[in-house]
Subunit: 205 residues, 4 copies
Amino acid sequence: MSRMTREQSRDLTQQKLREAALKEFAFAGFAGASIDRISEAAGFSRGAFYANYKGKHELMLELMCEMSALEVERWRELILAHAADSDDFAASVAERFEAFMQETPWALFAVEAQLQARRDPLFAARHREYMGYVNQSIKELLSMSFQQAGKQLPEDLELLGHTFYSLALGLFLSTDPVCPTTGAKAAGAAMARLYSGLLAPTRGV
Amino acid sequence: MSRMTREQSRDLTQQKLREAALKEFAFAGFAGASIDRISEAAGFSRGAFYANYKGKHELMLELMCEMSALEVERWRELILAHAADSDDFAASVAERFEAFMQETPWALFAVEAQLQARRDPLFAARHREYMGYVNQSIKELLSMSFQQAGKQLPEDLELLGHTFYSLALGLFLSTDPVCPTTGAKAAGAAMARLYSGLLAPTRGV
Amino acid sequence: MSRMTREQSRDLTQQKLREAALKEFAFAGFAGASIDRISEAAGFSRGAFYANYKGKHELMLELMCEMSALEVERWRELILAHAADSDDFAASVAERFEAFMQETPWALFAVEAQLQARRDPLFAARHREYMGYVNQSIKELLSMSFQQAGKQLPEDLELLGHTFYSLALGLFLSTDPVCPTTGAKAAGAAMARLYSGLLAPTRGV
Amino acid sequence: MSRMTREQSRDLTQQKLREAALKEFAFAGFAGASIDRISEAAGFSRGAFYANYKGKHELMLELMCEMSALEVERWRELILAHAADSDDFAASVAERFEAFMQETPWALFAVEAQLQARRDPLFAARHREYMGYVNQSIKELLSMSFQQAGKQLPEDLELLGHTFYSLALGLFLSTDPVCPTTGAKAAGAAMARLYSGLLAPTRGV
DNA sequence: CATGAATGAGCCTTCATTCAT
DNA sequence: TATGAATGAAGGCTCATTCAT
């Protein structure tokens, strides 16, 4: 007798498939991803995949949803962690970003999602929706950060958040993955620098 | 008898193929790109492609080479244009970047090149080499910029340049292509802001 | 506790499955029929199907058996209905045939059965057996018809019956289903005409 | 150096593919037909098939077109052969039909085409068009036949033709293919009988 | 140099079937 | 008996690549 109920078993299968799919999508891109490889990496047969997901597209959507939820959660954690004390955000941001840089599959997936949104209108619609949540979280983070620093909220807070997110994505993309440690460190520093550079100055731009 | 020498004719063919390939790689990614579509878009047959390039991989390399050369050239132009007068760089940078945002195929190709470098070691080697040139150009630009602003060169000039390039890539990627005008405008502003934020402050970070 | 005995419940399940299967086989053919669709249309799961039938082939056989039994029954009814009075057979035949034309699933299934008999020797054996019963019924009908008409039985009565059945099948197949009313009417007329044409003439062919 | 021009070679390939496809469609039906088997039977690879035909559907259409053209041609030949002398049509018809019965693949394909027309609306449209030509041919044949027999054209000539075609199809379908000789013979006789039975009587129905 | 017919590996997907629950 | 997760073979189709012309 198995230890799991049917539902548990099913959920486990899906989780394994999603984990394998994340890596596949990240490293091969949507077009290059092979459902065969995903299934095998997850330890299942092709058929098991299709018993759980309608197809490549649906899985990509599912992963994207998972990704943005996770992303939002991370930023929120960062916010909450600093809600109480007024520690230096810059260091936290750098640290948080270094971690992001090391989570290669998720970061790559974020890039692939952006690309896929340019190719598949259906995907684009959902993607925009989810990115909205992410942007909202970043905005809240920055907003709190400004308040704690005793600064007035800049009018272009949204743009600032977008800039933040963009730099993170860009740094991840263009940082050489061969020596990830130094790369991530440097990238973290760059993020911190942007954070300081943008928050610190009293004068507008 | 044709007006062109054999070599000229060959070069023309290759140019047409590369132009078509750029778009295909940009919009479909390396894995999704189809040599048939490239050839047809260039006005040739499959065979013509293989008479000029060894295969998909070689063409991608060739395009990457062309891309980075063009990129270097652009930055150098920006440098030279400002070598004489001491105009405000920020505006130039914003303008230059907005133009970059609109050159969707090249920008997308730059992203694809970064991704491909993570997949194909051979490609990665060449890519690193060419990115070296690009980074060097940006460094020179920043260096000159600092000098004209009467500031001391920061020690992390290389990192600054990298940050610059990364933000450009990231903004391009994460800016919604649906309303390209406002997106590009906003992204240009973000770039200008980074430029000002990083160069202007007297205090280090 | 259910009101039905186990056996009754089982029979009901099988009946529902067979009903769904008839339509599926009729409209998709044997190869195109999907056990999933059959089960779902019957309101059961895949497993229920396999708990009741060994597989696609067995179900097809079962249906064929059901079909020929029903076919025999119909012809016999026709015979019995006219055993008492000596009404015009032609009209009855036409009417009976028009009804057959409208029972699309059964008619289509008859065609599929013929085709399947060419593919599956096992099926062919049973099919031949059942077609024997059908032909026998038709022969009896014709025989009675000749007697009532006061004609001598022709030597090729069997061939006549076969011709009858064949025309029915052929008319069904080649009559455009788009306007079923006129099609069926016309086909009924054609059947009646054959009936009259074959029975009426005193001279042989 | 090959003996054939490119076009000739291509045509030959297509012909071989169509020949193989005819048999496959005939014996396995549209749904059951496998492009792999077709290609292999024709002596080519899968790819060769797709280089010549867009897919299963297109090939089926192509074959249907070929079939009806051939059908029309046959009926016309029958007509022309008897245009000069006033031989007995019945025998010719029987003979012609016996030949049809032996051309199993074509006859089976005709059945499959009818079935496919019920499943695929696109196919149905073309099928109706082509069947129009066939019916026209049969009508001309009958018309001529009536004239030579010195009879008046019946009002329902079209229906008569349809009946003719239907009986042919039906006889083919329901005649046991195991002993094709006797079956075909008998079927030929049945056709001849219908022909005589329908043409001969002076009285209407 | 350019063509396009042919190849064959590999892709996404469906489906009959099995089996633990 | 009925369920549905999982299998694995097979199908339709695409595509990078080769090669005779």
